[in-house]
Amino acid sequence: MTSAIEVDGVSVEFARSGAEPIRVLDRVGFTVAPGEWVCIVGPSGCGKSTLLSVIGGFLRPSSGEVRVQGEPVRGPDPRRIFVFQESGIFPWLSVAENVGFGLSRASRDERARLVTHYLELVGLTGFERAYPRQLSGGMRQRVEIARALAASPDVLYLDEPFAALDYLTRLKMRSDLLRIWRAERKTILLVTHDIDEAVQLADRVLVLSPRPARVRETVAIELARPRDLSQPECLAARHAVFAGMGIAEATGAEAIPARGSAALAPDSDVVVVGGGPAGSILASYLGGAGVDHVLLDRAVHPRRHVGESLVCSTTRVFDEIGFLDRLERGEFVRKQGAVFTLDQGRRELALPFRAMPDLGIAQDHTYHVDRGRFDELLLAHAAARGSRIQQASEVSEIELGADSVRVAITGRPTLRTRIVADASGRATLLGRQLRTRRNDPRLNQIAVHGWFRGVDRGPAETADWIHIHVFSTPRAWAWQIPINAEVTSVGIVCEGQSGLGADDNAERFFARSIVSHSLLAARMAKAEGLHGLSVEGSQSYFSERLAGRGWLALGDAAQFVDPVFSSGVSVAAESARFAAHAIRAALSDPTHAAEHFAEYDETVRRGGTVWRDLILLFYRKPPVFLGLLEHPSARPALQSLLQGRVFRAADAEALAELELHALELERASLG
């Protein structure tokens, strides 16, 4: 077969004044056959996008050449359309005008026909007259793909086209792109950092090395599509790609260091790093099951923290570790529902919680907690369940060796273990060490919060519920959480850069925000602060991997999302539960440890992603989101998610359906 694209010894150097030029690409060479789908993966910043710019004709290589059908590329060409990482569609043109942009030579009728056809193909019929700013990120990306296809190119260059989309949209876009590819049979060259994406889509995956990039590995995947990522051939391809990137993935028998294999016997089977809720709950599970473990606590008490409100699904966890009685003793305020207020408080929506019988939860309430006290009680509970707790232990490094895991502690002897559970919270110890932590640019919020006396909590029936007061400024809202009979926690969350300017201070910002919402202003009229306000960054992030050979990450160390739905302790508690399960399974059946850990990774990631996407859906248009809650056919599913039922595949599907539902509501309001 002749090659459609030949990349021949392409190098790119960027000149720097007064310094050596930076070499970004180093003699990169490969070919792509007509109709073939090739994915390029590589570590962040390795030059993947630069390579695609060169192939697309936007950038001249310093040496080497790109040829398409034998002809050297001298610039961009309408036969080969580039789809940009951030939306490249024109915001000043309507959807239809954008799709018709490349069709200036076609007749008016022909253009209209093509526009209609391609909008239908990408599922955007009905949005012809909308403007890009009215669309979601996924929809904008669809418009761009429609625009590219309408120009009838032979080749599509896609530069991380789905990187800015949320998880579910990304999945949907992948399968749509596959469907379109089968209908249109273009040659596709796709750059991505998502290995699963590459494995699911490509005929061949090219793995680039770190900068200066060269092709380090080529993995051919001869499997019919659509592909199920859990099928063994896909897993094998995934491992091959990971191996090509120099990340050893856990496989089979090597998943955890064996008990007797180390030159020195391990100090314990499991080391739990961190004494926050995730660590304490995991330790309680392990203690209850008689697993030999140590919990290392940095001991910074009391902790002032966002996350003072729990969700219903955690009740099962507290019941299982025998902590529910402690919570029921009356020290913590029962949380029986949530109230959302919109439009200065003129619109109000109450969501009374329900029992969750399928989780074995009979009670219809959860709790608001003073986090200092709560964390302390949980840690004490772990100790009572048989955890060895080593206080004042700050972990400096975790060494993931071949035959043992070593946990280095500042000023103390290093501990050897078989499994380390990273529950280090937002310090994300392993996430930083392994460089798997990724900030989510869409959710970079800050929170300014404090405790107050004399807050009017509103009507008696809902006084003890959590109140979420939504501001008119995009992505800004306030929480009102009762801590005890007198004290109420109030916090303002807003977008990092827009809220607190450099010339601003927390008090001024807080006061200004309160008066911008008249209901909240009235409730805070007689409020008296108990201590100064805390300002806390609330940048959402996730870890690309939640488990590997001899380690797993849980709680905030795995993922942190915006606090609007009180998901923080949910992720902590549930991931601890899944981690305990995975650890016990791995210890009792070491040959299949990798599978147990992979399952852990998948489950916890799914829950975290569902939370995040639920939050993004809320932020996109809070009135539409609350409209879903008022919709009889959407409410049960949404309530179940909001009560913390997020970890099953069915939950992710339910959310996808709600997103479609929201889209319909929005489409109806667009007219």
Partner: protein, 254 residues
């Protein structure tokens, strides 16, 4: 209701200012400085005679002509400077030198070149509003996201289509900002220009009222009108920023 709540405090402040003015005039017993009521009746008298409308019309016409000429000159030039870097590096320093010179400083030269008729103030308006519009248009082109230009280039559109469908609309929000600044300066300048040897316009009204018999009631009436009309012009320009084809730049996504 919400709007009223916003406007109410400034209305109260305004009323307080007028009351203070009235009280001060009454307290000092000034014979020359008018009370608000005198300003109102003076203006009503002038309006009834039809003179007021003539003055307003004359000022607006000068601004319309001077500003339109500046717009026709500045936008193509700004687009060219934005696209062609040689044009930018050659012309930009010159404009940077000319720009900080107050339009008032041009008055002697304007009179020398154009005499004391309508052409002088029109020239001054042109000079005052052309620079901000050139600068903003150029900046508008310079800040176009690279990916939009690349995308357009990728589809192989002609240079003309690139200009019309991508460069101009992408820079349009900035051009509008330039127009708003330009119009504001033009309105400032027309009044100053009309104070020199003309026989119509709001600037002339002010100077003439003082010279011909210390009619300070008309001086102040003229000043207030200038303020109000300036506000209206700015409001009109702001409305342009809400057009669908430029809102993307002024409104948040979502």
């Amino acid at each position: 209701m919400g709007r009223w709540k916003q406007v109410l405090p400034s209305l109260i402040a305004l009323a307080a200012l007028v009351a203070l003015w009235w009280a001060l005039v009454a307290l000092t017993g000034s014979a020359i400085f008018p009370t608000p009521w005198q300003v109102l009746t003076g203006a009503a008298e002038l309006a009834a005679s039809g003179m007021l409308a003539q003055h307003i019309f004359a000022s607006l016409l000068r601004v319309a002509i001077g500003f339109s000429l500046a717009l026709l000159f500045a936008v193509p030039l700004g687009l060219w400077m934005g696209r062609v870097s040689a044009a930018y590096t050659t012309l930009n320093p010159i404009f940077q030198i000319l720009r900080p010179i107050s339009p008032i400083a041009w008055i002697p030269i304007a009179i020398l070149w154009f005499g004391v008729g309508n052409a002088s103030p029109i020239y001054l308006i042109f000079i005052s509003s052309v620079f901000p519009m050139i600068v903003q248009t150029t900046a508008g082109v310079h800040t176009i996201e690279e990916r939009y230009l690349r995308a357009a280039e990728n589809f192989g559109v002609s240079r003309w289509a690139l200009l019309r469908q991508v460069v101009f609309p992408a820079a349009l929000p900035q051009i509008l900002v330039g127009m708003r600044i330009g119009l504001g300066v033009a309105w400032l300048v027309v009044v100053a220009a009309e104070m020199i040897a003309l026989h119509s316009g709001l600037g002339y009204l002010i100077i003439d009222s003082r010279n011909a018999g210390n009619r300070y009631d008309l001086v102040i009436a003229g000043m207030i009108l200038i303020g109000l009309i300036g506000l209206l012009l700015d409001g009109a320009m702001r409305r342009l920023e809400r057009m669908e084809s430029v809102r993307w730049r002024f409104v948040e996504h979502g």
